[in-house]
Structure formats: C-alpha cells, structure tokens
Symmetry: C2
Subunit: 186 residues, 2 copies
C-alpha cells in the first residue's frame, strides 16, 4: 500500500509542477492525479488551491532561509560568501531547467485579493534583501553604506534571476556576480 502521507505527497508534487509550469497553469486535478491521491483527500488537507500555493511558497522559503543562514555562518570573507551565493544560483538554474523566480512568477498571476500569497512573496524578497545587507555589514564599516550596498547587490541578484529566464542565458548571472563582487572590493 502507498504511504498514507497524502498531505506531503500533494505538497511535493504540486511544488514540482508549480515550479516547472507556473502556479496558474497547473490544476488541482493534475496535482492529485500525479500525487496519486483523491480529490477529497486534497480538500481535507488544503481548503483551497491558494492555500496549497502558500504552503508551497513557505516550504521553499524555509529551505532557502536555512541555506542562507548556513552560508552566513560558514567560513570565508563576505566577498567569498557573496560569490558562493551567486554560484549557487548558477547551479540552481542549471539543474532545474529554470523558469525564473517562483515567487516573482507567482506574483505575476496573483491579484490583490490573494493577500496571503502577495505577503509571502514580499516577505521572502525582503528576507533575501536582509541577507545581503547583513553580508554587506560584515564588509562595510559604515552601517549606512552597508545598507545601500546590500540593496544594490539585492537588485543585481534579482535582475540576474529574472533575465536569466527571459533571455534563457547565464550571462546575467555572471554579470551580476562580477558587479556585486566589485562593489565588495573597496
């Protein structure tokens, strides 16, 4: 018999599908079919598709938060950690037939009504921004300058992610990486 953790199977399956094709392009029916669960089971765990989406975003967010705090606590200069973060982005893109930032993509199809989703996107982005600011504060003595430089790196990172998808190319990541590292050189 199949393991009875329908909830997790649904979340995992939906995550893959959402990631590959986008939230709005994947229906409940496909999710439960691929997850091997019944529709009633789905609605026993998630009151709506939207709540499933929130659970998905939250799961991804938790994973990425862990990665960032581990990176912060790892060894090396701030510049080295920055470089490693961009390298991680590159492998991520290469290994996942990248379709762009799942958060931004989901935001592009969510209207103002989806407060929960919109708020999760905002807080995820804000948390990445904070990560870069912390990294910058380890390099720049002036807190004001550190905040500004962290924000710049954040914008570079976001642009790289988006344009890597739009142009289906890796150069935006490399360009952003160089630009970010140069900011951390003086």
């Amino acid at each position: 018999m199949r393991k009875p953790n329908a909830r997790e199977r649904i979340l995992e399956t939906a995550g893959e599908l959402f990631f590959q094709r986008g939230y709005s392009e994947v229906g409940i029916n496909e999710i439960i079919e691929k997850a091997g669960t019944a529709k009633a089971s789905f609605y026993q765990h998630y009151p709506s598709k939207e709540s499933l989406c929130e659970a998905w975003l939250k799961a991804m967010h938790d994973r990425s938060e862990t990665f960032r705090s581990e990176l912060l606590e790892s060894q090396g200069t701030p510049a080295e950690k920055l470089a490693r973060y961009f390298d991680a982005l590159e492998s991520y893109i290469e290994n996942n037939q990248f379709r762009g930032c799942p958060y931004s993509n989901t935001g592009a199809v969510s209207d103002e009504q989806c407060c929960g989703i919109i708020e999760q996107i905002r807080s995820h982005k804000e948390s990445i921004r904070q990560f870069f600011r912390v990294l910058a504060s380890l390099h720049f003595p002036s807190p004001k300058r550190a905040a500004e430089m962290g924000d710049r790196v954040f914008v570079l990172y976001s642009g790289a992610t988006g344009e890597a998808q739009n142009l289906k190319a890796m150069w935006p990541v490399h360009t952003a990486r160089s630009a970010a590292l140069e900011l951390f050189q003086n």
Copy 2:
C-alpha cells in the same frame, strides 16, 4: 455610430486589461465586451488570443523603442541620459499602478509552445540591453568595458523593475539608479 476601427479598439482595450491584470487573467469575452465589439469581429482581426498578445507586445515595444532612440539623440552626457531613463521608469511606475514588467509577467505564464510570445519578450529585453550598451559606449572608451558596464546597468534596471513590483516600493528604482550612475562616474 461607433467608429468602425474595431481592430484598434480591441488592441487598446486588451492592452489596458493585460497590463493591469496579466495576460492569462483576462479572457476574450471581457475584452470584446469592454471594447464594444462582437466576438466575430475579434476573430476577423486576430486568429487567436495569442496573436492578440503578440500584437500588444509589439505595440508596446515600438513605443518604448521610439522613446529610447529619442533619448539617445537628445542632449546631455551619457550619465544624464541614464538618469533620465531611470526617472522615466519611476514616473511610469507611479502613473500606472505598476504591476511589473508586462513582458516578464507574460513570460511567466507562457510555456515553450508560445514561440512567438517568448521570442518577442527575448527580443524586447535584448533591445533594452543594447540601449544600455550604446549608452555605455558613449562613456567608456574601451568597447569591452562598455559592453560589460551596459550589461550591468541592464541587470540593475531589470532588478529594479521586478522588485518595485514584488515589494510594492520605489526604493529598488532609486538604488538601481544610484548604482548605475556610480558605474558611469569613472
């Protein structure tokens, strides 16, 4: 009697709706209703919704291309033109209850099958990139460095656009503007 330019009315109406709510969230029925045309008239001018989308993207692209070439031919230093471009982005966002770059948003909901749409997004982005490269070539003597700096500004610009939407804030635009201008200072 209503003016018989149904084609343009459709394009204009669809443009506004697509811009405000996203391509996939707006249906043909709503477009023709708001445009005041019959469904048959729609399909007389556009073979499909997808082709309407392409016409919309193309119309926006043409307008933005005009703006960029006028800016290039205008007076001032490259850095001043760069500043003006970011200022234009800021007013654009303020005046249009910004929902993010329409190209990126449309790309986020188009799969590989929509070659025409994907290709238009790619070429639009590539054309903005080229604009920044030209601008940089007016500032940096070395062509290689000019290309690299143009690309960096492009990534900054793209990140600013995306995050202004995700965070519903203007600071990414200001940050990108400062960072870009600083690149053009030495």
